[in-house]
């Protein structure tokens, strides 16, 4: 992609905006359309665009495949551990009411916290899974 100047320049302007938009979608999933899955896919699309522009080697320097694989598992672990934290706090599995300071009068605080953490875990897993699938496809074609 060394001589496709337009694509390179525009991508360098757009890729930070894509990551920022992914973070916005992730954390505003409560107030508008969005949530974990959409944010994860948008983040992965940003990484894919970066890989297409700078080539696989530099992209794998920036996002090491081993770390991405570990992140896939960490997202699911976050989700499960939120459920177990609810169990440890006295509620049922994935019962976010138990996470609040005052489960009787303000269960909404616990719900907010639970939903935030859960969507974070989902977003991390989806982004890492899509990126590692893409890297696997490209690595297969190289040798």
């Amino acid at each position: 992609m060394k001589r496709h100047y337009i694509v390179r320049v525009i991508s360098k302007l757009l890729i930070p905006c894509i990551f920022l938009f992914a973070l916005y979608v992730q954390f505003h999933g409560d107030y508008g359309p969005g949530g974990g899955f959409q944010a994860g896919v948008i983040f992965a699309s940003g990484i894919v665009l970066y890989t297409l522009v700078v080539g696989l080697d530099r992209a794998q320097q920036a996002f090491h495949p081993r770390i991405i694989e570990i992140l896939v598992a960490i997202g699911v672990l976050i989700y499960g551990s939120v459920g177990i934290w609810c169990l440890a706090s006295g509620g049922k599995f994935l019962d976010y009411n138990a996470l609040a300071d005052d489960p009787v009068r303000h269960p909404q605080h616990g719900q907010h916290l639970g939903i935030l953490l859960v969507e974070l875990g989902v977003g991390i897993t989806v982004a890492a899974a899509v990126v590692s699938i893409f890297f696997a496809f490209v690595n297969r074609g190289r040798s």
Binding site: Y31, G32, P33, F37, A136, F137, R140
Partner: protein
């Protein structure tokens, strides 16, 4: 036609049959996967069109909205979309391996090669 209210189901059925035909009639494996994708999207459209309420709005609570569309099928379809992309990616990985093992991705050629071996 007295049943114009059923128009959305007929569109969905036409799309579904197009995807179905692609899966069973075409020999190329990637074409089959694309047809499967078309089939899945038509099923999503079936559920979403059933969830719509006339005069309703998107299921996000804000001031001044009286009727919302049914949010339950939306949740089911979100899960279904993610599962669909998972199966598509696994299917494409299998196609790549089949190509490396057999040298072709046409179904008839693969069957012929397997019978000879």
């Amino acid at each position: 036609m007295p049943n114009l209210g059923l128009f959305n189901y007929w569109v969905v059925i036409v799309l579904m049959m197009t995807g179905f035909y692609t899966v069973i009639a075409r020999g190329n494996l990637i074409k089959k996967l694309i047809g499967l994708n078309v089939f899945q999207v038509s099923v999503f459209m079936l559920y979403i069109s059933m969830a719509n309420v006339k005069g309703g709005t998107a299921p996000i609570i804000f001031e001044g909205a009286k009727i919302y569309s049914n949010p339950l099928p939306h949740v089911l379809i979100l899960t279904a979309i993610v599962v669909g992309v998972s199966t598509t990616s696994l299917g494409l990985a299998l196609v790549v391996r089949i190509k490396e093992a057999f040298g072709t991705i046409e179904e008839d050629d693969i069957r012929r090669l397997e019978e000879e071996a």
